[in-house]
């Protein structure tokens, strides 16, 4: 049934699909970064991933495991959907801040890493030689910088308020995208690919808009979880904690 519906649904876009070539994302392709920059970003990514592995091992409960699967699946799917921004450019969700808010920085980082490994190895999206840079820029900046910014803002404004939590999600996810674009520009400049000033100006200009899309998707998702299962958030609102203290998976 799905295929029948799908064929009908895609008749129109198929025409337009065939006209325009597909292309990749904020994902850096092979060749844009120099060997030293690739190696340093690999190193930083690996260190943070190893720390995340250890923290997940020591701190998380098995109730998180299915959530990791769901979060990874959702972010992979959402990253496929490029949304248009003014000026003939597009952007898509990165999702690091979202993953951090849902799963915490440690499991969130692992989830983002899985997404970029699948994209790079199965779908040639993002160069394998620069996978470290892509995991760092689009994943770890969100799951660490984005997450801690979200946490600070939310806890300062009011942890148990949905609207204040959403403000924190919006600000942190927008900032994480702009910071990711700055990091990418710096790496491109250090690699001698493009001068820093022009790279920064161009990257930040577009990602100021792309970050708005990131904020809208992240806010929508966290709002949905808050309304349906607030106890599943990494830092649930206090009123949901009585629920959270119940065993969530069969023992």
């Amino acid at each position: 049934m799905i295929t029948v519906d799908a064929v009908a649904l895609y008749l129109l876009p198929a025409v337009w699909r065939s006209v325009v070539p597909s292309h990749l994302a904020l994902h850096i392709p092979d060749g844009f970064l120099s060997l030293p920059v690739s190696l340093v970003t690999w190193l930083v990514a690996i260190v943070l991933i190893v720390v995340s592995l250890k923290r997940v091992e020591s701190e998380y409960k098995d109730r998180t495991v299915p959530l990791m699967g769901v979060c990874a699946a959702f972010i992979f799917a959402a990253q496929m959907i490029n949304f248009p921004i003014p000026g003939g450019t597009s952007g898509h969700l990165l999702g690091g801040t979202l993953a951090g808010a849902l799963l915490g920085p440690w499991a969130g980082s692992l989830v983002m890493t899985v997404v970029f490994i699948v994209q790079g190895s199965l779908f040639q999206d993002g160069g394998l030689t620069v996978l470290g840079a892509n995991v760092f820029n689009m994943g770890l900046i969100g799951t660490f910088a984005g997450y801690y910014l979200y946490r600070s803002i939310r806890f300062a404004l009011g942890r148990n308020s949905l609207s204040k939590t959403l403000i924190a999600v919006a600000v942190a996810s927008w900032v994480s995208v702009v910071v990711a674009s700055i990091a990418t520009a710096i790496q491109l400049a250090l690699s001698g690919t493009v001068p820093l000033a022009v790279a920064l100006t161009a990257m930040v200009f577009w990602h100021v808009f792309i970050g708005i899309g990131e904020a809208i998707i992240s806010v929508t998702t966290i709002s949905f979880i808050w309304r349906s299962r607030p106890d599943l958030l990494y830092e649930p609102p206090r009123k949901a904690r009585s629920l959270a203290s119940e065993p969530l998976m069969p023992r």
């Binding site: 799905i2 799908a6 064929v7 895609y10 198929a14 065939s18 325009v20 597909s22 292309h23 904020l26 994902h27 392709p29 092979d30 844009f32 592995l53 997940v56 701190e59 998380y60 098995d62 109730r63 998180t64 495991v65 299915p66 959530l67 990791m68 769901v70 990874a72 699946a73 972010i75 992979f76 799917a77 496929m80 959907i81 490029n82 248009p84 597009s90 952007g91 898509h92 692992l110 997404v115 699948v118 190895s121 199965l122 779908f123 040639q124 160069g127 394998l128 030689t129 690919t193 493009v194 790279a199 577009w206 299962r229 990494y234 203290s245 119940e246 065993p247 969530l248 069969p250 023992r251």
Partner: protein, 118 residues
């Protein structure tokens, strides 16, 4: 409180979440904007797009015989991207779940406090 109820509610959340992800990957992916995205646009404008390696390491992986970017090879164009989205979403779901399962302590270990202790 029955843990049975919690189990059901958790399963409902996982099924709903995965279902939403699959719907997005299958039915929305063909409508994704084809405009160049942030970095593509900048690499075109600043003319460093040609530095992209043509012979990518990923082309040497067996998956390249199945997927041409986000399109399954050898199927009608209308379903190539939805199928790739379906496969990618399920693989990502399975890998992340599996990674979590390998790492997180086994059930039966006495539970401590809440996950999110301050």
């Amino acid at each position: 409180m029955s843990s049975h109820l919690h189990q059901q509610r958790n399963r409902a959340f996982v099924v709903t979440g995965l279902g939403i992800a699959l719907l997005i990957a299958i039915f929305l992916s063909p409508f994704a904007s084809k405009d160049p995205d942030g970095l593509d646009r900048v690499s075109e404008d600043l003319k460093f797009g040609e530095k992209e390696l043509q012979d990518k390491p990923a082309y040497k992986l067996p998956f390249y015989a199945i997927f041409d970017e986000y399109a399954v090879r050898g199927v009608p164009e209308q379903i190539a991207t939805p199928l790739a989205g379906l496969a990618g979403t399920l693989v990502t779901f399975g890998l992340a779940w599996g990674a979590g399962k390998l790492l997180v302590r086994k059930p039966g270990v006495p539970p401590e406090d809440d996950v999110s202790d301050e």
